[in-house]
Symmetry: C2
Subunit: 324 residues, 2 copies
């Protein structure tokens, strides 16, 4: 069993050696740009690791793995337009560097390309792999729409939030792991278990992200702490605080949410103080650990010798300690 | 052989009976809305007619035909955002009725759905049908990008224009006809011929559209004549005029293009006068008839008894006399 770093290098090389050029350049340059921005390549790495876990050779499945990475970057590209985000991995977003029209259309083309690459699985898996991929793609769109709805909604429950991040983030991890397994002829029960491993890991991963925004080690990387708080983003932390507070505390919290942020540091401190009083951090950690534990249980239940799972165990653990 | 109207009713009923609802409503309502706006349903009708031409039963192939119509409507939806169009089939466009973000995301979801429906072909055709469909989808994106590029370009040749409309409009007609043929086990040569029939018909169809804008019968339908002229749209007519004029006439034409349209009727008359002096209308008609003739030749060369082709001949002729 190879290490996560081995697979990351494998897919990174494959991306570097792929030709994203085409005519007209206005359509294809943004695709090349987007695919060159780097990142952890988590989703294709998971696909390759799952494929090897069940006895396949990673080298045989690089195209579908690339397809998943292109799809992921397509969703980032379109999300960035909707979020009016200026930066992606410290570089200009496509809609800023070019314009919205080009970002829409090169995103559409990336989706087409992702399907083309996924089609390169062995013909006997084609129907199964594409059905799962398309079902997942629709769910990711649903998750993004729910996320946008939540911005305008005054009442979002914790359950609704978990459902949203499941769709927006987690199902794609389950999907990519399952594709790796399907193409190794894994049995039905194991395909479901590796899917659940990915889905629960994805939810834990997103909750970890919520925690890092407030409790991450900012000094080291210079990223501002409390960005979600300033943006009134309905994270697990804020929703837990809203659900657990009442009376005067609830009023204070609601006032902080409508106040304009002329004093951002004060707003962050005040919200964090309420979080502390309500033990919000601990509740988020408990939820995160619950999903992480569920993920590991699914992994352990897979009918493959335990030592072969070490790479995926390592990768999962790494995701839970990553810093922004 | 059934009439075009028979197939149109068949697909219209299938669309009416399809369930486009889903959660969240903000994502799925625009899809239902878009699919309910009506239209000729030309692309799925062509698929069904081609399928029947080669001996298949239209009822067996309604899902992929629906997939093509969803794809076509997805391109209209995203194009409308880029063109900032307020109306589509006399109704509000999705980005106007909802907003840009919802239009982007429900468009993405329509593309996912179109692939799902195309996957419902018989498994033995899946690889072939999807490859052709995805190749065509990429070409349609390229065509739309070229169209946007032309708006900002000072020099577009007639050949470049024909290439653009081939990608943006014509290849999808070839694709949908070929899918119908593939799923009827038509032989390779016939699949290529029906593709060429569609592609050339599509180019003729777009040139006819260019002509109708200037020489169409506006009185009957109240549509304004000369919309393309006022928008300085680089149609076959304008590009031919630019290519064929020189000296003072070229100067006059260029001045008309940069002039603001405080006197729209005068601008239209002046441009039309230049068109008349240069026989631009005749040149466009000659080109259109050339592509139409090529289309019909491909149809006649298909190895199926001539009387079975009557429906497609009728439909093609109808497209050439349609009024806006």
């Amino acid at each position: 069993m190879h290490s996560p770093e081995y697979f990351q290098e494998l897919i990174e090389n494959h991306i570097r050696n792929s030709d994203f050029s085409g005519h007209p350049a206005e359509l294809y340059d943004p695709i090349h740009y987007m695919m060159s921005l780097g990142g952890k390549r988590l989703r294709p790495v998971l696909l390759l690791m799952s494929h090897e876990l069940f006895g396949g050779k990673a080298e045989n499945i690089l195209s579908p793995a690339l397809g998943i990475e292109i799809f992921h970057n397509f969703t980032l590209l379109h999300d960035d337009i909707m979020d009016k985000a200026p930066l992606r991995r410290s570089q200009q977003t496509v809609h800023k560097k070019w314009n919205d029209d080009i970002a829409i259309l090169s995103g559409d083309t990336m989706f087409v390309q992702s399907c083309m690459h996924l089609m390169k699985v062995n013909a006997s898996y084609l129907q199964r792999v594409l059905s799962l991929f398309l079902k997942t793609a629709a769910e990711v769109c649903e998750g993004q729409q729910l996320d946008m709805n939540f911005e305008k909604s005054n009442h979002v429950s914790i359950d609704e939030y978990i459902h949203m991040i499941e769709l927006k983030t987690a199902v794609l991890l389950g999907c990519t792991l399952s594709i790796g397994a399907i193409c190794s002829d894994a049995d039905e029960a194991d395909i479901n278990k590796i899917y659940d491993f990915g889905k629960n890991l994805g939810i834990a991963f997103q909750l970890h992200d919520d925690l890092l925004d407030v409790y991450g080690d900012s000094g080291k990387f210079g990223k501002q702490i409390g960005g979600d708080i300033l943006a009134n983003k309905k994270t697990f932390l804020l929703l837990t605080a809203l659900e657990n507070s009442k009376g005067k505390k609830l009023e204070t919290l609601k006032q902080l949410l409508v106040a304009n942020s002329s004093a951002p540091q004060e707003k962050i401190s005040s919200v964090m103080q309420i979080y502390d009083e309500l033990n919000v951090r601990e509740q988020c950690e408990t939820a995160m650990e619950g999903f992480y534990k569920k993920a590991l249980e699914s992994l352990e239940n897979i009918s493959v010798p335990g030592n072969k799972k070490e790479g995926l165990r390592l990768l999962a653990a790494k995701l839970m300690v990553r810093e922004k």
